[in-house]
């Protein structure tokens, strides 16, 4: 007997199901999965956007506003200059058609390399409860751009801010059907507390996460 079958049979023996699991149990859990009911969420009274700002800051992201998508390259250039960072970035193909040259920024749209200091990405949506970005992997949205560079700049339309993780999953189901290879929830720069429990930012991923909220 294969390991698979002997493991499953041992579990079935415990559940007293016999070799063929009872149809009722299968239907019941099948129905639970199909309807995927929500559990209670933390109680609290807050507005989406202010909560997102508050929690993003609490997770050590910085947040800035731009009026429209076209203003993003200028805002990125200003941020990079303010941080004394080079005006070069790996950028999601999805955002490649913004006028980066006009803002004096050189971009490439490949997979992020070790030498890339800045990564510019969008977000599938963002979560107000925890100040979190959700990035889905895809042809135009590679996962490495939000991870490998020391600075991550994320462009998020305010219309894409949802309340909680459940609402993000609902959007994924509605717009994509099923999750892509990578579904990354990102809440601030990477950090470690491994040495004497001191929190240090910039462990393996970005040292800085800067979020541009697009109002339009």
């Amino acid at each position: 007997m294969s390991a698979r079958d002997s493991i499953l049979n041992r579990i079935r023996a415990v559940k007293a199901r016999g070799e063929a699991p009872a149809a009722a149990a299968r239907n019941e859990i099948g129905e639970y999965i199909r309807t995927h009911p929500e559990s209670p969420r933390p109680t609290g009274d807050w507005e989406l956007v202010p909560q997102f700002r508050r929690m993003a800051a609490a997770m050590s992201s910085t947040v800035d506003d731009v009026a429209a998508l076209g203003d993003v390259p200028g805002a990125v250039a200003m941020y990079l200059k303010g941080q004394s960072l080079p005006l070069e970035a790996v950028c999601w193909p999805q955002l490649a058609n913004l006028d980066w040259a006009a803002a004096g920024i050189r971009i490439h749209t490949g997979r992020a390399q070790g030498a890339d200091m800045v990564g510019v990405t969008g977000a599938f949506c963002a979560i107000a409860e925890t100040g979190t970005l959700l990035a889905l992997s895809g042809e135009d949205t590679p996962a490495s751009a939000s991870l490998v560079p020391e600075t991550h700049i994320a462009v998020v339309p305010v219309s894409r801010i949802v309340r909680g993780m459940e609402d993000a999953f609902a959007l994924v189901r509605a717009e994509r059907g099923q999750p892509p290879r990578a579904m990354n929830f990102i809440s601030g720069p990477s950090r470690t507390g491994d040495i004497e429990l001191n929190i240090t930012l910039g462990a393996h991923g970005p040292f800085r996460v800067h979020i541009l909220l697009v109002q339009g």
């Binding site: 390991a3 493991i7 992997s137 579904m183 990354n184 929830f185 393996h204």
Partner: protein, 464 residues
Amino acid sequence: MYFKPRASEKLANPTLQRALANFKERFVGARTEAVAQVPNFEELREAAKAIRNRALANLDLLLEEFERNATARGARVHWAEDAEAAARIICEIARTHGVKKVVKSKSMVSEECNVNDALEAQGVQVVETDLGEYILQLAKEPPSHIIAPVVHKSRDEISDLFAEKHGTPRKTEIAALCREARDVLRPHFLSADMGISGANFIVAETGTTLIVTNEGNGRMVTTLPRVHVAITGIEKVVPTLEDVALLLRVLTRSATGQPISNYVSFTTGVKGAGDLDGAEHFHIVLVDGGRSKLLGSDLWEALRCIRCGACMNHCPVYQTVGGHAYGWVYPGPIGSIVTPAYVGIENALDLPNASTLCNQCGVVCPVKIPLPDLQRKLREQQVDRGLRPWTERAALRLWAWVAQRPGLYALGTGIAVRMLSAMGGKERLLHSLPGASGWTGGRDLPAPAGRTFRELYRKRAVRQ
């Protein structure tokens, strides 16, 4: 594996004691604060318990559903009866894909299975990339905590270790040490052929595995190499994504006091056509390793565990001796239950007793595992199987024999309390007592009043 002698050794280690004092303050404080921010945290705990119970009640069906959905997305699901089988499967995966270098993110199940040793034995380089685990790999030590693996080591020790192993000038700032590790590990991420991660949960609905991390190494390991292996226990399955959303809220608050960890990374299947990054091959190794047996025992509730570490953070025994004293992969209260369950109670003799039964662990457990009750059940098993020391067994037999003879019992205890009372002297304290040096070596024993309870009770009854 003996807890007692190791615990004594840990008590006498000043570096460890300093680290543990710091540890207790940080972790207990962080959880308390995080929980206070959620008015209905108890409701969330109850819901988390229900989700885990539902998962365990349908474990076979959910694992089948998980396998079906993961396979449909191009992942390959492997089943391992035990630790050796899991290590064998991973070695075989590495061989099939011609792997030379593996980067690993933190996985306690991989510690159970000694995956690193097995891979290294066939000439594969394995690099641990969680900062704590990397430090331990350099120091050739096992982790002492499930989420803060290197909590037992001081900054000074790590400074010395890095200077020696990296051949770089000795650094003392924590930020500089972290930077050095980042710089050393970065080329490994970019050049490894295979990444090994654990999985905090696996989701039946979508065939997804996910990891909860802060450092970003887990994302590197699951994004950059062409082969990704996720290894986890069969009990980690949950039905839906919504279930994960709830469990994460109690997991991170209980573990580090964060409302969410920096990265929650879901991986489903292999990379899509046209994707610039992501693994081309995705293998998922589901390990039994004693879990299906535990499911059928009266300790099954331990399988609800979501590995947050709150039980050890709040345990007065763990806070005093640290994780290494427990002798296997999982320390603290949950370790004192799963270790005997997975490696055999005869191989973990003192562990069910490495507890004061104070229930601090039970009070903070996000999935409400009744840890002290389970420890008590293990203690019963020890007695039933005659695994307690012969002196204890003989003493209890003698006591039972005498206790069944009330006259003899009254005589014996009457003499004993009078002798002890006399020995207590004016201070009414016993500084030493033959056969009870374990107690009196550290503190005085109050002397009895000189009369037994039955004598005093009789006198009171007559007076009334």
